[in-house]
């Protein structure tokens, strides 16, 4: 009796040990990358946590500050607004690319002559250098001489102040973000469409479903996991958006488009307030982590159901 119980346990143990030894053989392959990751990713993290509980401006002495940097955020209106703005910007910068990206994926999933070239042109915005793109958009947004207001007025529409007014600056930046990142959503969803089985479609067509019904009841549920992956990636990237905002509006007019990332840059590299900036980094990272986990949670639930 005893031996029959012990034997499988022992076998499992030796199997686990063999597996560990097998895995250990491959450690030398991973170590160099591990060193780099520790040096440029983990070290900065430890350092940031350390600095976030200190009062430190570049050029002056460092003193322990406890939670002062964190409590300061609670009363810092500028920080609070930056959080809200970031969430507002992110919500729109996820929603629009997602909607357009799904539509684009459905179109590019069809077979037509010239598809390769059309797809390449479509993904150009996400590959191009963001600073270069941002400069061109800035010139197009010019209120008097910009080509966009010319197009609006020739269509009989009122001109827009684009990034030169507090009311329109964030929607305008979302437009650039959507232009730039819809292709990534398209590619992820397109990858999903390519992996779908054919049978549900044949069944739906036999049942007499029209194109829209097939999309809504067959295609969309099947690619939903891919849509959610795209949503997670888009969410992370939108929270972190920096280049285009920095170049096009630089947080302005006033602070109307100052997102967390822009505020962070100012605190660290214009005001040299390293302690406070480090605390903002910690909170910013927690925010990104929460949004990521939330979206992953939805993804898991969608996969289970």
């Amino acid at each position: 009796m005893g031996t029959t119980v012990a034997a499988p346990g022992e076998a499992a143990r030796t199997r686990a040990a063999r597996r560990r030894n097998y895995a250990r053989q491959y450690w030398p392959f991973i170590v160099p990358a591990g060193v780099v990751v520790v040096a440029v990713i983990l070290f900065p993290w430890a350092f940031t946590l350390f600095m976030s509980v200190h009062d430190f401006h570049i050029g002056s002495a460092r003193t322990f500050a406890g939670a002062a940097n964190y409590t300061r955020m609670l009363t810092d209106d500028r920080f609070g607004w930056a959080v809200l703005r970031t969430l507002y910007f992110t919500a729109m910068s996820v929603a629009f690319p997602l909607l357009l990206g799904i539509a684009a994926a459905v179109v590019f999933h069809r077979n037509f002559p010239g598809r390769g070239l059309a797809r390449t042109l479509f993904i150009m915005p996400m590959m191009a250098t963001p600073v270069a793109i941002a400069l061109v958009w800035t010139m197009m947004f010019h209120p008097q001489l910009g080509v966009l207001n010319y197009i609006l007025t020739s269509l009989g529409l009122p001109p827009s102040a684009w990034v030169y007014s507090a009311a329109t600056v964030i929607p305008t930046l979302v437009m650039v973000e959507t232009w730039q990142w819809t292709p990534l959503v398209m590619l992820i969803v397109l990858g999903g469409l390519a992996s779908l089985p054919n049978d549900p479609y044949e069944a739906a067509v036999l049942d007499g479903a029209n194109v829209w019904q097939v999309f809504w009841h067959v295609t969309l549920p099947l690619v939903w996991p891919f849509v959610l992956v795209a949503a997670v990636i888009r969410g992370i990237d939108a929270l972190k958006a920096f280049d285009t905002i920095f170049v096009i509006s630089n947080g302005g007019p006033g602070t109307a488009s100052e997102t967390l990332n822009i505020l962070l840059y100012l605190q660290a590299f214009s005001f040299y307030d390293i302690g406070y900036a480090s605390a903002v980094v910690v909170v910013f990272f927690v925010l990104i982590l929460l949004v990521t986990l939330l979206m992953l949670h939805f993804r898991q639930r969608a996969q289970l159901s």
């Binding site: 900065p44 350092f47 940031t48 992820i188 660290a268």
Partner: protein, 280 residues
Amino acid sequence: MSASTPASRRVRRVLARIGLYLAVVVLVSPAVLVFLWMLSLSLKTEVDNMAFPPVFVPNPPTLANFVQVFEKNDFLSYTLNSIIVSFTATAAALLIGVPAGYGIAKARATRAAVLILVARITPGLSFLIPLFLLFQWLGMVGTLAPIVITHLVITVPIVVWIMIGFFEGLPSELEEAALVDGATIWQAFRHVALPLARPGITVATILAFIFSWNNFIFGVVLAGRETRTLPVAVYNVLTFEQVSWGPLAAAALLVTAPVLLLTLLMQKEIVAGLTAGGVK
């Protein structure tokens, strides 16, 4: 019953085709038009660029803006900086990342893979504050080394992530046969797995290079006057020293042209790499 006559079915198919092409045009034109406008701005004289209503087609096109970019700025040395930074950061990432991808795939070290993902979600600025202070303390600010090192934050995760996926997809029989024949695991990697992984390495190289080339935030913080990469130079120097649109558009075009060319030439590899893991 008229709906099913061959003639009306053909009409419907033609209409569907037209609808499809219309959709393609609507989707592609925002992308194309912005790049065409950049080209148009770069080829026009200052008078035409400031005209309202705008002049759409340069007539006659002029290369004066491009000449001015090279004459008035140290554009060549910024280009050289960008080339050095992106090539070094990509080469180092391949050297470190390809074996790491192999090791992680073979040992199924999922925890190591998660660490790579953490690098993906962390905002660049959070690496930059500590690294900036460290480089300052080491007296390295003002050289290209800090920029190359920070670009590893971009290139290493891309390479590792793509290579994990690639090595996981390779059949392991060949390496096992080599191991049975007495090869070391290093030899099995070097002579069996690595040659098979060449397509994956190509994809990883292109993407790592592009995202390093495009990077702005690391350079804007760490670059000194002499060590600006192209995106930083275009933003810093040109926007402040000359506000005219022609040279600015010409410089923007020059900065992004290598990337756009790579995308056109290698679109299949790029699409494969980006869909593999939604990296960036």
